[in-house]
Subunit: 309 residues, 2 copies
Amino acid sequence: MPPLQINEVAPRDGLQIEATFVPTAAKIRLIDALSATGLARIEASSFTSPKAIPHLRDAEAVVRGIRRRAGVGITVLVPNVKGAERALACGVDEINLVMSASDSHGLANLRMTPEQSLAQFAGILEVVASQPGGRGVFVNASLSTAFGCPFEGQVPEARVLELVERLLELGIDGVTLCDTTGMANPAQVAALCQAVLARFPEAPFTLHFHDTRGMGLANALAAWQAGITRFDASLGGLGGCPFAPGATGNVCTEDLVHMFEQMGVATGVDLDALLAVSATLPDLVGHATPGQVIKAGKADRRYPMPQRS
Amino acid sequence: MPPLQINEVAPRDGLQIEATFVPTAAKIRLIDALSATGLARIEASSFTSPKAIPHLRDAEAVVRGIRRRAGVGITVLVPNVKGAERALACGVDEINLVMSASDSHGLANLRMTPEQSLAQFAGILEVVASQPGGRGVFVNASLSTAFGCPFEGQVPEARVLELVERLLELGIDGVTLCDTTGMANPAQVAALCQAVLARFPEAPFTLHFHDTRGMGLANALAAWQAGITRFDASLGGLGGCPFAPGATGNVCTEDLVHMFEQMGVATGVDLDALLAVSATLPDLVGHATPGQVIKAGKADRRYPMPQRS
């Protein structure tokens, strides 16, 4: 079995929606600690306008401040050409572009239809190719609402396949299929993963799940069964679903790693080290995190026999 | 695909560990409401000594007070011959006996080794057969720690298969394989389910999962893929793991039903009705419940487009 590659998104996808700004030095400490656990990639920040996402206004300082480690790719979210230029100037390994598979989510979240996003991506790819060092940077595209849109409902599989094809034709290096609001179910995940892998066998696909309706790990299992080996996940399950107060957000990295390691599927991640980093999150964000293994311990945890009278 | 049969365990497995006693009339209202949702079975109470489980001291009144509905089996937990006699006197459809697959969990939880439990079950089966109406009662055995013991660790699959064989030889009608403390992983679940179904193709097996480490639904998916169609689940995810404070307990019924219905697997359950019952739980038990769908809504929930400036 090929080992999994986990892309840790908490520093970007998690911290951006927290109530409080996490200081730059604390972000750097978090990412440096994550880098040491064996994660394949870390989404370190977002090169968005500081007005749009004030909590990530320190993107440059974070990316320039972290210790780079061989084998750990540093990726950042990039919303436009300007963001791409800023990211490349910091020497990232990967940039991650975001578009929606559905018109209404694209308009609501990005003020762009999928067509407009594709046109914008073409411009970003030109800039990346023209920059010094740009050609060595992996350009990923995250396709939001690939498993359903909270405004429109189902997004036809044929539409997702068409958008993936157009992304790859543009020159995008890899595509992340995102279950943005936790609508996916394992049967749907199996079908879409089988379809993209059959049609684009050379492209690296990443799956991004939310646990909004409790199906995060079941969906990851279904994707892995279909042949997917790259997953986004968020330490402690940080991140959320703005439409579902109280529901958990991104699938929790340590719970995902724990499940696959228990199954005998290598993740390359030192789970104990990862749990130690996760244990620092409540102090950082000011609340408990929704992960389960951090509360229960790993499945191989042993307890003393209770003393009975 | 055959429809699933869901056995709702919240009235027994959930309420027994709550901090407060739920009044008998409220228990009856809960079970009557659950009966109307299309669940296949409901574990209504436990005929244990009132000293052992004070919260279920009203087992007779509950079972006698509920409205019986065609197609909804009423099952109760029975710890010994006396409990079996009490249960049969109330006219239950099924009794559920409990034993552990591991010596130390059996001694800690029941003060009995697996061998002692098997001997006791033989006595209970004799009593059931000798009672008026007893022959029509389904006798199920729940095998705790079938996927691992919190004191001993791994329980060999061969040992579980041996105990299942001996239960069926005794005359037990069905066996529930219980992941008592949430140690199971999907690969292990697939392997054990395939093994029991291959070796005992005629026996009705039920799977009982805990979400202690976030794998509850992933394990249910793996069991279903292996051919299992009967599941225990607990409304709202009530119930717990005494060893893991803060971790969720039993797999949540509405989340399980939601996942399978979304996959196109019939459960026979009216999910909207079930969610309405789940929404009454916080008042009943005095705290929020860990279910996800109750917070997020079903995957087909639609939201209005946000108004942007």
